[in-house]
């Protein structure tokens, strides 16, 4: 099955989103080879440059509202638990407008993969400050420089209860492919925060290339070690930037527990059952 659609791609040349698109398509093809039909995949996106992914991949998709990618993804997962639900979101989408949903999806540990295209700038609206923009960042909404400190999304979801936390980089496609597949196969809530470079409004290629390194000899099952590594770079000050899986553990996933608790309907048609219920109200 061809994964391309008729839609014309209109990201800027050199946009980090291409790497995510390529990684996802490659992984979907690989999964298909391993027996996961694309019919059983649903892609969900918010609003932002990231969400154009949905127009570019010929797979079931739910193009949601800004900040609202996770709630429908959870509904889809609970309606059709066999579905692989992959959510794309931006830093504004997931960490700004939709932060409430992020915290709760992580808290529930629902089996959904969230890929955040973290370019640390609002690109679709042509360059405003986001929750992960560094202090001092001059943007269209902060011409004098950003006064706020950024949030560290990895630390946030660790505290909230996510069971798979990784950071990728749009200039490291082999690692990204590996991370996307690992996250999709993880049973529970997984976040990949992808440092995705916006060449037009915040070109950080040189900065990242200078600081990124791949995690080695790190035990992702060790929560304390994960937290330490996550805190190594606070998305603000210059520091080494680790790429890879920081944390990974297996805990009961919400969808599995929810469906375990769901009983099959009692014997009898609904009208009959309703008559039975009404007897308790006389």
């Amino acid at each position: 099955m061809a994964l391309e659609t008729q839609a014309r791609n209109n990201w800027c040349p050199g946009c980090g989103n291409f790497a995510i698109l390529n990684a996802v398509k490659a992984v979907l093809a690989e999964l298909q080879g391993e027996g996961t039909s694309p019919d059983d995949v649903v892609l969900v996106g918010g609003i932002g440059q990231h969400a154009k992914m949905l127009d570019y991949v010929n797979v079931n998709s739910f193009y949601s509202l800004h900040g609202r990618a996770l709630p429908p993804a959870e509904g889809i997962k609970l309606a059709k638990p066999e579905t692989k639900v992959i959510v794309f979101s931006g830093d504004g989408d997931a960490y700004g407008e939709g932060m409430e949903h992020l915290v709760f999806a992580a808290k529930r540990n629902i089996d959904i993969t969230l890929i955040v295209h973290d370019n640390r700038v609002y690109a679709l609206t042509t360059g405003q400050v986001t929750p992960t923009s560094p202090q001092g960042f001059r943007s269209r909404s902060t011409p004098g420089g950003n006064l706020e400190k950024p949030i560290n999304p990895l630390e946030l979801v660790l505290a909230a209860g996510a069971t798979h936390i990784a950071r990728g980089y749009s200039a490291n496609l082999p690692l990204l492919k590996k991370q996307v597949k690992e996250a999709i196969l993880h049973k529970g809530f997984s976040l990949i925060d992808v440092l995705q470079v916006c060449v037009t409004f915040s070109n950080l290629y040189d900065h990242y290339n200078k600081h990124v390194y791949e995690l080695k000899d790190h035990d992702p099952a060790d929560r304390e070690a994960a937290l330490k590594k996550i805190r190594e770079w606070d998305y603000n000050l210059e520091a080494p930037i680790a790429l890879g899986t920081f944390y990974k553990t297996l805990e009961p996933a919400f969808d599995a527990e929810f469906l375990k608790a769901l009983k099959p309907a009692a014997a009898g048609s609904r009208p009959e059952l309703i008559k039975e219920v009404l007897k308790n109200y006389v």
Partner: protein, 530 residues
């Protein structure tokens, strides 16, 4: 005595609601039709709470402002409501804490002697009432056994002490009529949705719709319902739309404030053509307002909620049978036309207690899923989109497609209006030849129908508010020279809606103090406009 009212009151936390329900069920077993008006503050302990239980041989859906019995567990109940007691009425009270004229029992002392919990004062009080009303002990005992399976023995003991400690003042006779279930509007609406095949209910608690969430959660096992309480109302509606996309029939419920948050999802459902049922239980606004009191202020809000133009179904049932029937229809129509469908209720109906006659409701069969692909179907790619999109679900900004899609949505609205002609979208009651008619919507139906009888008026109740049932309304209003619109708001929202459709109300009777009209009050208002 065959048409009577009882007011029972005390502090929140005294079990007033339960005692009221037991009385209603007792009268129900004696063959009466009943209605319960519940009045309680927005807190858990303390504050004044009361129920008015009205019983009649005929079906009733409204309370009266004069009562035959005033049952008081505290002084406040007497002080606040003694003016409601009829001249021949009787107050029954706990003489340990209440000073009044009537039938006092030392309930506090009885409880102590029986070593019974404080909460059982209510049982003692209604025991005394049963005796005073000439109800025999076995009938009262049966009601206690049915309604208080926990701590039964002690309640029977305390109830008997109350019964024996009182004297008969009147005789409530048995009526030869089978009992009917007593339901709140919320419960009936829930069952209607379930009857039409509801599979998922998603909600964040908010009065007066919270009880739907609890009802669905309780019913989840029996009907295999997926019941979920997400992080807030935005999460609620978007999660439900995820269910809907995947082919799972879902409903959400809230009140005005929660619905404010849902409106972006409403517009999304309109654009993505995702079916969903949205229950909005109205209460007194604006803002937090009076959380546990009633209102009919969201007609235009719900009618216009969400940016852009798209068709919607909006119904306002007036009693639990209508809530059941239109709840079921709303779910079916939402899926048939792939639109958002709204059910407007209000606190009066949502939490009031009514007799419910399932046999009087036309059967609504569960509608089949529309013939379209769902995610998971073999070889199908199902793309839905909040952007304007082409037939395959891909984003577009093309002028021709934009126009075409807007017209497609409009067409659905026209088809829906045509489909609704098959149903009784406007109901007419009372004297069909009268030149004066009362116009009402939602829970005001009950009180208006009863009041109209006295004046020989006609009553017109539009059940469907969107798309406005023009043909049926025209037929209903034919021959009417004076139209009196009765609403629980300060601006006459239904009157405005009919004005948009070329009709006008001659008089408005509006009440906006958070309380529903009682029968006597409405009759008094109508008299002014004779």
């Amino acid at each position: 005595m065959d048409n009577f009212s009882i007011l029972i009151g005390g502090q929140a936390g005294y079990g007033i609601d339960k005692a009221g329900l037991i009385l209603a069920r007792l009268f129900n077993q004696l063959g009466y039709r009943v209605y319960i008006y519940r009045d309680y503050p927005s807190l858990i302990r303390g504050g004044h709470t009361f129920s008015i239980v009205r019983a009649s041989k005929e079906r009733i859906c409204a309370h009266r402002n004069k009562v035959d019995f005033l049952l008081a567990l505290n002084q406040e109940t007497i002080d606040l409501h003694k003016n409601k007691l009829k001249a021949k009425g009787i107050a029954i009270y706990d003489s340990d804490v209440v000073k009044a004229d009537g039938l006092g029992l030392p309930i506090g002392q009885i409880i102590k002697e029986e070593n019974a919990p404080e909460i059982s004062r209510n049982t003692c009080l209604i025991g005394a009432f049963a005796k005073a009303a000439g109800i025999d002990w076995p009938a009262f005992e049966a009601a206690i056994k049915q309604n208080m399976p926990k701590e039964l023995e002690i309640n029977l003991k305390v109830g008997k002490r109350g019964f024996d400690g009182a004297r008969e003042t009147v005789k409530i006779e048995k009526v030869n009529q089978p009992p009917l279930p007593i339901l709140t509007g919320n419960e009936a609406l829930s069952l209607g949705l379930i009857a039409a095949g509801l599979q998922a209910y998603v909600a964040y608690p908010m009065t007066p719709s919270s009880a739907i969430l609890s009802f669905m959660a309780e019913a989840a096992d029996k009907f295999s319902l997926k019941v979920l309480q997400p992080e807030g109302e935005i999460g609620v509606i978007m999660t439900a739309l995820g269910f809907s996309y995947a082919g799972t029939k879902a409903a959400v419920g809230t009140s005005g404030g929660g619905f404010c948050l849902m409106t972006e999802g409403v517009s999304f459902a309109g654009m993505a053509e995702l079916p969903i049922v949205i229950i909005v239980g109205q209460r007194t606004g604006p803002s937090t307002g009076l959380p546990t009191y009633t209102g009919q202020t969201e007609l235009h809000f719900v009618l216009n909620a969400g940016q852009g133009e798209f068709p919607r179904l909006m119904v306002a049932p007036g009693d639990p049978e209508e809530a059941y029937y239109w709840g079921a229809l709303a779910l079916n129509l939402a899926w048939q036309f792939q639109i958002p469908a709204f059910i407007l209720t209000d606190k009066t109906m949502a939490e009031g207690g009514f007799n419910f006659d399932l046999n009087s409701i036309k059967e609504v069969k569960e509608a089949a899923l529309p013939k379209r692909a769902f995610p998971g179907d073999k070889g199908a790619v199902v793309k839905i989109n909040s952007y304007e999109h082409d037939g395959s679900g891909l984003t577009t900004e093309d002028a021709a497609i934009t126009k075409q899609m807007a017209e497609k949505r409009l067409r659905k609205g026209n088809d829906l209006a045509e489909e609704l002609e098959k149903y009784e979208s406007v109901k007419v009651y009372g004297n069909n030849n009268a030149s004066t008619a009362i116009l009402c919507w939602g829970s005001n139906k009950g009180v208006c129908v009863e009041a109209a009888r006295k004046f020989g008026y006609k009553v017109i109740q539009p059940l469907v508010l969107s798309p406005f049932p023009v043909k049926q309304f025209e037929a209903a209003i034919k021959g009417v020279k004076k139209l009196i619109c009765v609403e629980n708001n300060s601006t006459g929202q239904l009157a405005q809606l009919i004005k948009l459709n070329g009709y006008s109300a001659d008089q408005l009777i509006l009440k906006y103090d958070g309380r529903p009209f009682d029968l006597d009050e409405l009759e008094g208002e109508l008299k002014k406009w004779l």
